[in-house]
Amino acid sequence: MKLEMKDSPGQLVAALKPISEVGGNIIAVIHQREPDLDNDTLNVQIVLELPEGRQERLISLLNEQGVRIQRIDKERLLYQRTVIMIGHLMHTDLSDTVDQIDSTGFAEVCELSMSMPAVNERSSSRITIKAVSKGDMEAALAILRRVSHQKSLLLIEPLEEIS
């Protein structure tokens, strides 16, 4: 989610503590000068990840601190996609597969669950990838498609939400 506030003195510092208190994870703090306002106020945006159901609590904590929130944007700036891969995952170096995503710098594998059937049988794994933007996610999925093709793995992608 994205919080927007005016950067009057102390506001930013006052905002940070409640965020960590509710278990939030700050991804970016963006300062922006409002072009159509001739005074010197800065517009501050805090982009953060918040566990499900903590938003109310965060807002009341922020209010207690005297932080005036101008806008809350729940749009997910952090893109997350889950894919399933089937095949000889170990024989084809799973850690290399994961590394091909992690080494991009713009996307990472944040969760991996794997089934281990009998030796020589194909295994199945669920891989969750995070990326900062939609474009980065597309690029990460393109890498996975290429790697799956090279390693003869079956890649099952999620059906994109209808836009």
Partner: protein, 329 residues
């Protein structure tokens, strides 16, 4: 009255003949043929006795009369072409359809082969002769997708389409998800239920769904897409573990046909999809979501196959032709 000639008396042909005989639709069958025999009568044939004869003897009538004879010589307004699909050559259906169109007869078919392989050419012949070529039954069985596109959504721009177009695959995946069956076990069950052919290749490798996607894409966008243009992955390598891993996240796996022209996407592939998504339908059902500029999203769900279900689509096409073209006392 509109007179029709019926070529093919399998599951679909018998369904159509039975419904025409039973319902008062203003349609009479004046010619009929299967692979071995045929007959014609300008005053209308006795369908009940012909069908009874067919199930007794295995062929419908006079073995000296062929399907081609019926198409050339019978007196009819519209041909109903319901012979088996040949995805490689489209024959004998392409030949039958051309013969009828060039004699200025309307054609209604449930056969995917000719529409996927020769749509442009057949359409041109139909236009030149001022007759209709309709094929509602080729995609998603009883779901009136072509009528919806042509009439209900007329004037809309179709931005994308997503579909569950193969009942066999959907049945197998539903059963793997519900019971934790392996692919092989679910396939065996589908065979026992009569939902899968002895050779399931066309269904499970996504070829059947891809052919239907070709038909839809050509109908909607007239883009000349062919089977080779579809990026295709089947369901035959899926594991019960994969379905369970999807299930853990409130999702399942379904074979989805997808066309999004603006992204140059034309593909059939197993996809992770939320269990409460409208395209997650049970058993052999089919479903289609259209995304359009004015109506936004529309989803249609229904039976994708079956004798009477497919007859429903064919009769819809026939009655459309009757209303639009055939005026008779």
């Amino acid at each position: 009255m509109m007179n029709v000639a019926l070529i093919g008396l399998g599951s679909v042909g018998r369904g159509v003949a039975g419904m025409i005989a039973k319902k008062d639709l203003g349609i009479a069958i004046t010619g009929i043929a299967d692979s071995q025999s045929g007959c014609m009568d300008p005053d209308g044939l006795d369908i009940a006795s012909l069908l009874a004869g067919k199930s007794r003897k295995g062929y419908v009538s006079d073995q000296k009369i062929s399907a081609s004879d019926v198409i050339k010589k019978a007196e009819y307004d519209a041909l109903i072409e319901v012979t088996p699909t040949n995805a490689l050559t489209g024959e004998p259906a392409i030949g039958y359809i051309k013969a009828a169109l060039s004699q200025k007869k309307h054609v209604v078919t449930s056969n995917k082969g000719p529409i996927a392989l020769a749509y442009k050419e057949l359409r041109m012949i139909a236009e030149k002769n001022g007759v209709a070529l309709r094929y509602e039954a080729t995609v998603a069985g009883a779901i009136p997708i072509m009528h919806t596109l042509e009439h209900g959504l007329a004037g809309n721009e179709i931005l994308a389409l997503y579909g569950v177009l193969n009942g066999t695959c959907n049945y197998i995946l539903s059963r793997m998800a519900a019971e934790g069956l392996t692919y092989e076990q679910a396939l065996m069950e589908a065979r026992e239920m009569g939902y899968a052919e002895a050779d399931p290749t066309y269904d499970v490798q996504g070829i059947d769904a891809a052919i239907k996607l070709v038909i839809l894409a050509n109908t909607i966008w007239g883009n000349g897409v062919q089977l080779n243009d579809i990026d295709r992955t089947g369901i035959d390598l899926l594991t019960p573990d994969a379905l369970r891993l999807a299930e853990d996240e409130g999702c399942t796996i379904r074979l989805i046909a997808e066309a999004i022209p603006r992204k140059h996407i034309l593909r059939v592939s197993p996809r992770i999809i939320e269990k409460n998504h409208p395209l997650v339908v049970d058993g052999t059902l089919n479903a289609l979501t259209l995304e359009t500029d004015m109506a936004k999203e529309i989803t249609l769900i229904g039976r994708g196959a079956g004798s009477t279900e497919t007859a429903s689509a064919i009769i819809g096409d026939l009655l459309f032709i009757k209303d639009r073209y055939v005026q008779r006392a």
